[in-house]
Every structure is written in C-alpha cells, then in structure tokens.
Amino acid sequence: MIIEALIAVTFLAALVVFVAPDEYAGRLAAALSALPVLGSLWMWAQYDASGNALLGGSIAFETDFVWLTLGSLDLHWFVGVDGISLPLVVLTTILSTLAIISAWTPISERQSQFYGLMLFMEANLLGVFTALDFFAWFVFWEAVLVPMYFLIGVWGGPNRRYAAIKFFVYTNVASLVMFIGFIALVFGLGDSVSSMRLPEIAQALRAGELAGFAGLNAGMLKTVAFVAMFLGFAVKVPVAPLHTWLPDAHVEAPTPVSVMLAGVLLKMGTYALLRFNFTMMPDVATALVVPIAGIAVISVIYGALLALAQQDLKRIVAYSSVSSMGYVILGLVAYTTYGVGGATFQMIAHGLISGLMFMAVGVIYNTTHTRMVGDMSGIADRMPVTAGIFVAGAFGYMGLPLMAGFAGEFFIFKGSFASTVHSGMPLFTAAAMFGIVIVAGYLLFAMQRTLFGPFSFDGDYEITTAPMQDVAPLAVLLLLVIVLGVAPDLFFGMIQDAVNPILTGGGL
C-alpha cells in the first residue's frame, strides 16, 4: 500500500496547500513534498523485485483489485513498480521538491494555488509511473495535463495563453490517437485477455494471441496500433517533427514548471513508449527499426541545430531536450541491454540535468529578468557560484564523463552500435553521436556570451549573488548528477534487470 499512501499523501498535500494562506504556501508545500521523497527513497531501499513488471517479473509494492467492469473487460486498480518505474518515481519526487523550492523566489502571485497545482501534478505523475492497469494509468496520464495547463497559463510569460492551449490540445489529441490504437489492440486480443492489466495484455501480445479486428488482419492491426501509439507518445516525448509545442511551453512557463516539464513530463512519453510499444510489440518495433531510428537521428541532429539557432537561453535548453530525447528513442529501438537500459537511465539522467539547466537559467533570470543571450555578458563576475554551477550543468549536458549524462548516452551508444536489429545501426548510431559536438557548440557559445567576457548588462537591475534558496536546489541537483555519473549502478542494476526480459523472445 505504500504506493497508494504516496499518491494519497501528495493529493492531500495539494489540497492542504491549496487552501493555505499564500505567505506559508511555498514553505508548506516544500515540507509536505518531502514526505513522498522519503517514501520513494524508502521504496528504493526496500526494493527487492526482479524482472519486468509486464513480462511476468515480480512486482514490488503491488496492489490489485477490480475497479470497474467495462463491457467484457475488468478495469483494475493495479499499481506496482519494477526496475524501470522505480527510478522514475524517485526522480519525480525529488525533482518536484526541488522545483517547489526553486519557485520561492520567482512565484509571487496566487502562491497557494501554484504550489497546490504542483503537488497535484506530482501526485498524478506518481500515478502514471506506478499504474499497471491501462485505464488507471490513462486517467493519471490525462490528469497531468490539467495542472500543467494552469501552471503555464496563469503563471507563464506574455504569450502564455497560446502556449498553454497549444500544449493542452496538442498533447490531448495525441492521447486520443494513442487510446484508439491501444483499445483496438485490446479487442484484437479478444477473449485471451480478461482485463486491461498491462502485464496480461503484454504477455498475450507477445504470445501472439492477437486476432484480426474490425476488418484488419492481426499483423495489419498490430502495425496500425503500433504506429498510432507511437505517434501518440512521440508528441509527449517529443520527437521531431511533433515537438513544436515544447519550446513555446518552455519559454512561457515559469522556471519550476519548466523543470517539471523537461524533467518528468517528457519522460512520460519515453516511459510509455518503452512500456507499450517496445515491450508489447517488439516484432513490429524491429520491423520498423529504420524509420524509428531515422526519426531518432533526425530528432538529435535537428533539435541540436535548432538549439544552435536560438538566442533565448530557455529555448536553447528546450530544443536540446528534443535532441537528448532522440538518443532515448535510439536506445529503445536497439533492443540490447545497454541500449534499452541506457535509454531508461538517460531518462533519469536527462531529467536531472535538464532540470538543473532550467533552474540555472531561472536563477539568472530572477536577477537579470532577461534570458536573451545578447542582453548580458560576464555574469560570472557578479554571480560566481551560479555561473560555476551553470558551467558544470552545461558540461553535464554535453556528456562529460563521471556525470550522469555521459553514462546514459554512452550506454545508449554502446548498445545501439552493437545492436543486431538492423545492419545499419552502427551508422545510425554514429550519425546520432554527432549530436555531442553540436550540443557542445551551442552551450559553449551561450556560456561564452552570457557568463564570460567583460561584465555588461543593459537593464536597470542590480546583479548580485543569487539567494541561498535559489542556489541550494541547483547544488543538490548537481550533486545527484555527479553521484549518478560516478555510480550509475545505483539505478542501472535494477534497470537492466527489468529491461532484459524485453529483449528475449518477442520476434527477435
């Protein structure tokens, strides 16, 4: 029941904070959000399951009972974690707390509402990563949109209305497409499944019990469903060319929200891709390896080029997220331990690093009130600590060894280069790897212009050292990034344990 407790506590915290007076809301939210952190860490310490939750592995902290019956199928309340979801749960709780703290400075209006929504979002995210029944999962999946819409729409920048509605509708359309694809698949399975529990469906699919449905033969149905679900999730990831909602959302969203968006929300997409497409239908995935890997490479290079063309620090980081997520796709389609495991690890790593970068940009923004590269230079002179952490984070983003980013990326490269799913994989990998040069390019340029050089700033704000409450979360994140970079096995062990079953069997 720990998972239910985790989610419930977060929901309650959201309610409490929502009605709390503004002046305490921030502190209160931070304090309350510490509970899920402790809970998730406890789970991590107690974790003893093995194997993949969807493929018959043992599931940790599992609860399962019928929730409601829809037609011929039971919908369960079925939650639990395995080596793939547990790291994401930990990431979610930790990042949420840090994001909340980082909001103390920039968020000055309607604070209780803001923090309430943050916690509400955290609760739903926890649900997304722990639910193992499709409908329950889908409820959380969609519910995440609501707080995000408000967080961007109410506390966002000048163009927030456009960004919020774009995010809202775009991702909602994606969910609908995915829903139809998946449900068609479920009915294609006919009587071989009695519920919407993902393990049941995954095993039935891998056992090849799919029958034709609605005028499509089994193979066709599988492919159509795969594509529909891939598109649906690709929007969330986001994968080029379905990414255009992301930069707008990021630029308009306040820093803490960007942190959550880049740090956790994007991972929903890759997590779902791994859980659904790549776990349930490896045969289709391997059949479509060329287009998928192609999309991955395009995302990496195209995203990096776009980042190179930006002047807004936040846009730079936003586009580079597109680039980094491309690596994840590449790792997933590789179907090797290091490929898929690395992709999962990269989710965590990128979550932490992108969070770090957005926070750092935010801290600079809090003092300068601008994010334009051209508007400032030599900031390091006035904000040495922030600049130092910024540099560290940037190198983390470039994949500096002994930082989490390198671990994730190297695992992926290693895994996908050696992958046997297609003879072209080494070339795809080599092409994608060129991203590490471009990413270095734009980050170094940005840092040279903003942080270094003679100090100059055209704006009437006093540039001074950032307050402790801004820097502390940065420091914590940086520490985590380095710890994970030096000792990836903290998560990588359980991740491999959970992804290996995916690789065996299943049309490979």
């Binding site: 255009t244 776009l306 060894p401 490269f413 040279q448 270094f452 003679p454 096995d489």
Partner: protein
C-alpha cells in the same frame, strides 16, 4: 601482493583531493590552495618514483579497482589500473612536471597578485589528476573518460581570465576543436566494444591481442560488421586517431593550440609538456599493439605527423610573441612523435615524448619568467638583452633551446634523431609514404633550429628594445628552482637512450629506454611491437653508416638553421628580416588561413544551416500545427453561419435534410421499386 603498486591509485587521488580542498576552502588557505596542490603533487611524485622503481624491479600491475557499470548478461564497464614500464615512466614525467608547475605558479600567479587563485589551483589539481588517471587507465573507456576530463580542465584553465574577451573564446575553441576529434574517438570506443566486447589494453583478453588473433584467423568472438578484419581494424584505429589528432594538435585540428596561449603560462607549460597534448600521443603508444596491425593506419599517422612537423615549424618562423613561437614548436614536435609512431619507432616516439616534456616545460616556464620580467609583455620585439639581467633564466632557456633544436648532446637531439632514423630505415624498406614523411620531418629540423634561436636571440641578446627590457622585474626562487631542475634534465635526459652511440661505437647496453620498454606485459613490449609492425628495414650501406648519415644530416640542418638565426638576429639592433618574405610571411603569419576556414565552417556554414532549420521549424513544421487549428476555427466560423436566425430557413433546411435522407436511403434501400 600488498606492494607499493597497491598505492598507485593514490597517485591519481592526491591531486584530486587537492582539487577538492582548493575548491572548498581554497580562499581560506594561505596562498589560495597552492600549498595543498604542491603537497599533493609532491606526494604523487614520490609515489610515482616508488612505482617506477618497483616496476624497474620487474613488477607490473593490472587490475580492476572499480566497476562503473555492471552489465547484466552484458559486459561490465570498469575502471582499472595498468602499471607497466610505459605508464610508470609517464607517471613520473607527469607528476614531476605538475609538481614543478605548481611551484612555479607560486611565483607566476601568487607573487603577481592574481585573483581567483583557489579556482586556479583547483583547476591545476583536477588537470593533474585527470591526466594521471588517463595514464594509468587499463581500458579504452576509462582512457576516454579521463581524456574528456583533461579537455574540461584545459577549458577551465585556458579560460581562467574569464573577465577578458580573449581567454573564454580561446577556451571554447580548444574544447570545441578537441571535442570534434573526440567524437571520432568515442565512435571508436563504441566500435571497439562492439567489435571485441572488451576495451582492455593488456592481458590475453585485451583487444589488441584479440585483433592480432583475428588477423591470424584464430579469433572466435570478433564481429567486424561485414568488413575484412584488416579493413575494419584500420577504420576503428583511424576513428580513435581522431581524438589523438584533436588533443595532440595535429593537422588539421591544431588550430586551438596557439589560441590556448591565452591561458596562464604555467598552464601552457602543463598542457604542452605533460598533460593534454601529450595525452594524444600517449594514447597511440598505449594501444600501439592495435595500430601496429594496420599498415595503412600507421602510414597515415606517420604522414600526418611529418606534415604537421614541417607545417607548424614554418609558421613558428614569423611569430612575434614568444609564447606563439613555443606553441608552434609544440605542434611541430608532437608531429615528430606521431611520425615516430607511424614510422614504426615506438621507443623513439616515447623517447621524444619524454625529452620533449622536459625541454618544452622548461621553455614555457622560462618564457613565463621572461614574461614576469617584462610585466606580461610577450612581444619579443620589445625584449632583447635580457641575458645579463636574468642569467638563470637565460642559461636554462638556452639549454632547453638547444634540446629543442636538436643539438648534440642535448636531449632533443637523441630522441628526434632516433625518430627520423627509424622512419628512414623503414621507409627505405620500401615504403615511399614513410620516405615522404621523413623528408618533411628532416626539412622541419632546419626551421626548428631557425625559429628556436631567432627566439633566443631576440629575447636575450642584442640591446634592450624597451624600457621594461632595460629594467626587468626580478624573479624569485620559486621561478628559478623549477627552471634549474628542468634545465639539467633537458641537457641530460637524452643520455638514457644513446642508440647512435651504441650503434656506431658498438657499446652494448646503453639503450636503457629500449630495455626499459621491453619489460612488463608480453603483449605490450617494444619487442612484440617490433614483430607486429608491417615494415621491413633496409640501410644505406651498413647500419652504422645509415645511423651516422641520418644523425649527421639532421644535426647539420639544425646547426644551419641556428646559424642563419645567428647571422640575422644575433646583432645589437635586429630588424624584421621576415618582412622580406612578403606574401609568404603574411601567409605564414595567418597560419595558412587554417583558422579562417574552420571559423567559416562554424559560422559560415553551420550557423546559417541552423538558422534555416529554425525558419523551417517555425514556418513549416509549426505552421502546419497552427494551420490545422486555424482551419478548424475557420470552418467552425463558417458552419455556424447555417444558423441564420430566421426560423423559416430552419424549417426549410430541416425539410431539406430530411428529404435528403429520405432520397438517399430510398435509393440505397431500393424502396421505390
């Protein structure tokens, strides 16, 4: 065995600790953490020396000390130490130079009242630690990781003076250019894993051994991705070489190095002599067993090396700033090392790596001392006549210059001569590429001699050409001591490997370095490499005559260069003779416009492409998204027009709709038959 080698990790960790100390409490320590750094590097030096002795006792060490990522039904990725003669020697060199640089920094940074010293010493500490970690790495992945960290440190230290416009830009360039090389290196690392399933340097399961076996057709588990093993190994080797070319500043990725002079001079000394630039060459030496299997790779290495040696030397001829001259000389000298490696002279190249470390560190520190004296004016045309004002610096600098120019018996002579000799005999063995490379290397000797002594004469001889030169700033013990140590080494280090003497006079057993590098793991010995390399040797006349001839020619060229410099510049009031070169000078002065085309590649090609992509993204990709929404809204605004508000129209439309349904279904259902 609980021997001294078990403490080897401490060699790496001590400087790292000093990095942490300087970072954390540096500003509260005396001298801003310098003492911590000196203590740490001294400790490392002692340990390294101990290790050296142990290894000379025949012991070696190769063990995994930390599993970074434990693979589940997959290979483990681990950190390990490989202590063999090569790494032991390199450890000694690196720790020594690092120690001396730390000491020198007291004079160069502290006494000059620089700010941000904790940052500086933290950087030095991390730099040293990274390089040492790279040196002891027992597998390619670990090597790559520390290789990258070295790059980071160079970025931090070159950009130390971040408040000025120049250094940050130079730092960025250094990291970016080397990163470009490292991209290929990383692909190579991944490819090695994919090919051999391991990246270990030493042992039976190491990848050079596996590759060797594969070529002998014994291999089981080697995937070559549909290529012939030979071809594939060449490809992989060249990929890794990309990193080497970047870090060791070989053509065409050498452009970052002259800019890197923006960094503090001690850092330049460290970078050029012992750490970053040396890393590239060391990597090739480390996995020489792999390169030796591929004649094409070797030939390319040799040719690139030879070309770079000449190419950089010519540019050194016309520079104004003393550090610029040294920078190009570095590029040129590393070219020699690459030439040696490519030419089959593994020992020779290693030898040159060692000697160069000493005399180049010496020269940079000497330059640093001059710069202190000149109040940080680096223009040689403002100097002159410093030899009486600062004798210690002068004589040590002279020793280093002689070594660099390759004048017997200074260290540089022996090593450079052996490099050229090895290349020559293997070239004569029927390899025209090597001969070409040899020719270029030989020609470079002349230029080397010239620019070296042009520098010496302009700096120390003649009359002072500026007020500061007339009354230079004195330097302290902490500057002189390192100079003296290195000066002695630069003069004598060559004696450890007097192959020519051995060959000519037939005195056996004075090629100590050869014997040294024959120790350790069988698959890593000079002998083994000798058997692997695909060259055959032949001589002009006898071996002895070849030796004599080669040594004579190179020495002669060096002296000729020096002599020319003496004629032109050892005068009270030297004039800018290089101006007579006219267009050529401009060309040389602008480094053959290498930077221009690379900057153009970055700003003239990549950025426009990025901007175009951005336009495309905003216009087309996002345009479609917004287009869909606006189309829906437009159609919505049209559809609502049906609701005219006039109830009669509603009735009409209603009837119309119903009739339409009736007719359609009537026809469909065939009611009217």
């Amino acid at each position: 065995m609980a021997g001294i080698l078990d403490f080897a990790p401490a060699i790496v960790l001590l400087p790292f600790v000093s990095f942490l100390v300087a970072l954390a409490v540096g500003d509260r320590l005396p001298k801003g953490g310098a003492l911590a750094g000196i203590a740490a590097t001294a400790g490392s030096l002692l340990l390294a020396a101990a290790t050296f002795l142990t290894v000379s006792g025949g012991q070696t060490y190769n063990a995994t000390i930390y599993t970074w990522a434990e693979g589940l039904n997959a290979v483990d990725l681990s950190f390990g130490l490989l202590i063999d003669p090569l790494s032991a020697m390199m450890l000694l060199i690196v720790t020594l130079i690092a120690f001396l640089v730390h000491v020198f920094s007291l004079g160069y940074m502290n006494d000059e009242g620089e700010t941000g010293l904790p940052r500086y010493y933290a950087g030095l500490g991390l730099f040293t630690a990274s390089m040492l970690g790279f040196v002891v790495a027992n597998n390619l992945l670990m090597a790559f990781m520390f290789f990258e960290l070295v790059g980071l440190c160079s970025y931090l230290l070159i950009g130390f003076h971040f408040r000025e416009p120049g250094p940050p830009s130079a730092a960025k360039k250094a990291f970016l250019v080397t990163r470009f090389g490292d991209y290929f290196f990383l692909v190579g690392v991944v490819a090695v894993f994919a090919t051999f399933g391991t990246a270990a340097f030493a042992g039976d399961g190491s990848f050079p051994v596996l590759a060797e076996a594969a070529l002998n057709g014994e291999a089981g588990s080697v995937t070559t991705f549909g290529f012939a093993p030979q071809t594939w190994f060449t490809i992989v080797g060249l990929l890794i070489l990309g990193g080497v070319i970047g870090k060791s500043a070989q053509f065409p990725l050498h452009t970052w190095l002259p800019d890197a002079m923006e960094g503090p001079t001690p850092v330049s000394a460290l970078i050029h002599a012992a750490t970053m630039v040396a890393a590239g060459v060391y990597l090739v030496a480390r996995m020489y067993g792999f390169y030796a299997l591929s004649p094409n790779a070797l030939a390319i290495i040799a040719f690139v090396g030879g070309f770079t040696a000449l190419f950089a030397a010519t540019m050194g001829v016309v520079k104004r700033e003393i550090k610029q001259v040294l920078a190009y000389s570095t590029i040129s000298q590393y070219g020699y090392m690459m030439l040696g490696l490519g030419g089959g002279g593994y020992v020779a190249a290693t030898f040159h790596l060692m000697t160069h470390a000493f005399f180049k560190a010496l020269l940079f520190l000497g330059a640093g001392s001059v710069i202190i004296a000149m109040h940080h004016n680096e223009n040689m045309w403002d100097m002159g006549g410093l030899k009486d004002k600062m004798p210690v610096t002068y004589y040590t600098f002279l020793s280093g210059s002689l070594a660099l120019a390759g004048i017997v018996p200074f260290a540089g002579f022996w090593s450079k001569d052996e490099v050229l000799y090895e290349t020559l005999i293997h070239g004569l063995g029927g390899n025209p590429i090597l001969l070409g490379a040899y020719a270029m290397g030989l020609l470079a000797v002349f230029f080397t001699g010239f620019y070296t002594f042009r520098m010496v004469f302009l700096t120390f001889h003649g009359n002072p050409r500026s007020q500061t030169a007339r009354d230079p700033h004195g330097v302290g013990w902490n500057v002189k001591a390192p100079l003296v140590v290195l000066g002695v080494l630069a003069a004598t280090a060559g004696l450890v490997n007097m192959v020519p003497v051995e060959k000519l006079l037939g005195i056996k057993g004075i090629d100590f370095l050869h014997q040294w590098l024959d120790g350790g793991y069988a698959s890593l010995t000079a002998h083994h490499y000798g058997e692997l390399i695909p060259y055959s040797s032949s001589y002009i006349g006898s071996e002895a005559t070849t030796v004599a001839l080669g040594a004579g020619i190179s020495l002669g060229l060096a002296l000729a260069g020096a002599g020319l410099a003496y004629l032109l510049y050892d005068v009270p009031e030297p004039i800018r003779h290089t101006d007579r070169l006219g267009r050529i000078k401009t060309l040389l002065y602008n480094n053959y416009y290498q930077d221009e085309y690379q900057v153009w590649l970055a700003n003239g090609v990549t950025r426009p492409v990025a901007r175009a992509a951005n336009k495309f993204d905003g216009g087309i990709v996002d345009g479609v998204v917004n287009g869909v929404s606006s189309v829906s809204l437009f159609s919505g605004s049209r559809i609502r027009r049906i609701q005219t508000g006039v109830v009669s129209n509603y009735a009409a439309l209603l009837t119309l709709g119903l009739t339409a349904l009736l007719v359609a279904f009537g026809l469909l259902g065939g009611w009217f038959v």
